[in-house]
């Protein structure tokens, strides 16, 4: 069951996603990166149908890049979020994308932001958000411990608390997670939390 969640801190936004690629009862791989870099200061953490997820996020990523090439300036996080919502809305009554997205970004003028966009093109600007069954646990945990203006250490501590809850309480909990951060210095990977590493075949 896919888990994606994120929160806004003091001058940064953190997004976390599980890294299992699952088909029915089989786990294809447990190091699948579901948080795509949109541009230098934006991430999309996406969950949903694997084909749609990659198709939609890459489509958005290339359109965002095209905008920057054409116009010499990057899109703001808000503009990118509204553009994404518009694409989901247009596709909705024809060929919907089954993808839920958390867009995390940092703009020089407005600071860090997080946008919740679900598969039926709901758009909300939020301080904390989550998708999937894991949301039941991570959202409750964040409701309890989140406050605005958290430092990176406090935020990571809260993230780890959420991951512990998911792993201990969700029946088919994903074992591995990736944590990524966006701040004024850009969008980058922060850490992995792994319980299960891919086993290597013994040398023959």
């Amino acid at each position: 069951m896919e888990c994606v969640f994120g929160l806004v801190g003091n001058g940064f936004t953190i997004v976390v996603a599980d890294t299992s690629a699952v088909h029915s009862i089989l786990v294809h791989k447990s190091n699948e990166d579901k948080i795509m870099k949109l541009d230098s200061h934006k991430f999309i953490a996406a969950s949903g149908e694997p084909g749609d997820r990659v198709q939609f996020t890459e489509y958005i990523q290339k359109n965002v890049a095209l905008y920057q090439f054409r116009n010499g300036i990057p899109l703001t996080t808000a503009a990118a979020a509204n553009f994404m919502r518009g694409e989901l809305a247009t596709a909705l009554r024809k060929n919907p994308y089954s993808v839920n997205v958390l867009l995390a970004g940092y703009d020089k003028e407005t600071g860090p932001s997080l946008y919740y966009i679900d598969y039926i093109a709901t758009l909300h600007k939020v301080d904390k958000g989550a998708f999937g069954y894991g949301a039941y646990f991570s959202l409750s945990m964040m409701d309890r411990h989140y406050h605005s203006g958290m430092s990176v250490d406090e935020a990571i501590d809260l993230v780890d608390k959420c991951i512990v809850e998911i792993k201990s309480r969700l029946v088919v909990a994903p074992p591995n997670f990736v944590i990524k951060i966006v701040d004024k210095d850009g969008a980058r990977e922060y850490a992995w939390r792994e319980s299960v590493k891919d086993a290597h075949a013994p040398p023959s």
Binding site: N71, I73, L75, T76, A78, A79, N82, F83, G86, E109
Partner: protein, 250 residues
């Protein structure tokens, strides 16, 4: 002159010219002039009205100045009916952008988009080009106040001061002499009125022969587009000494 090559827009002449585009620019050279000046705190647009009549409803209709979006306006020179089509196109493009991104469209992108439309009429479809030149005045958060000029070919450029329409070359050289980079909005109004009064054919300037509009920041911080009322315009003309006060006219 290779007149055999000028009846179709979509072909080059042997000298490499697009005659229809050039003829369109000729048409604009006979139209009422317009001047735009960029200042630190706003953009000033002044236009010469060819249709003057006391019967004109000046409060609701303008001949030269049009608002494209809350943050962009334009002055036109050329065939008015062509201009109306393009102004509508520009308005739709601006709203379409805001619909997608929930933000005002950056000024250069709007100009570029409209110019792409104009270019299409020089390359395919077999339709004649638009006989209009524009001066776009606007503000956006990326580059602040901006002034752009575009012509029937679909070319555009960013300008500090520009003139289109009748006598635009004379106006342009006058602007080049007197423009300075740190000009204020009030000085820009004065310069625009002065240049227009020198290049217009008529002997005296009165407010019914002109239109003046400004794009500037209101005290509350919002961008405003304002057309000057005839009364205020008359006062400005007298103040800057470009018109005869009523008492002196014989």
């Amino acid at each position: 002159m290779s007149r055999r090559y000028d009846s179709r827009t979509t072909i080059f002449s042997p000298e490499g010219r697009l005659y229809q585009v050039e003829y369109a620019m000729e048409a604009i050279g006979n139209a009422g002039s317009a001047i735009g000046i960029l200042s630190k705190d706003g953009v000033v647009l002044v236009g010469e009205k060819k249709v003057t009549s006391k019967l004109l409803q000046t409060s609701t209709s303008t001949e030269k100045m049009y608002k494209i979006d809350d943050h962009v306006a334009c002055a036109v020179a050329g065939i008015m009916s062509d201009a109306n089509i393009l102004i509508n196109t520009a308005r739709v493009q601006a709203q379409r952008y805001t619909y997608a991104y929930q933000e005002p469209m950056p000024v250069e992108q709007l100009v570029q988009s409209l110019c792409d439309t104009k270019q299409g009429y020089t390359q395919f479809g077999g339709l004649r080009p638009f006989g209009v030149s524009f001066l776009f005045a606007g503000w956006d958060k990326n580059f602040g106040f901006q002034l752009y000029m575009s012509d029937p070919s679909g070319n555009y450029g960013g300008w500090k001061a520009a003139a289109i329409g009748a006598n635009n070359q004379a106006a342009q050289s006058m602007l080049k002499q007197d423009y300075k980079d740190d000009i204020t909005r009030e000085e820009a109004v004065q310069l625009a009125l002065k240049v227009l009064s020198k290049t217009m054919d008529s002997t005296s300037l009165t407010s019914d022969k002109l239109e003046l509009a400004e794009v500037f920041s209101s005290p509350s911080g919002n961008v405003k587009y304002q057309v000057c009322s005839p009364e205020t315009l008359t006062k400005l003309l007298v103040k800057f000494g470009v018109t005869q006060p009523a008492a002196e006219a014989t």
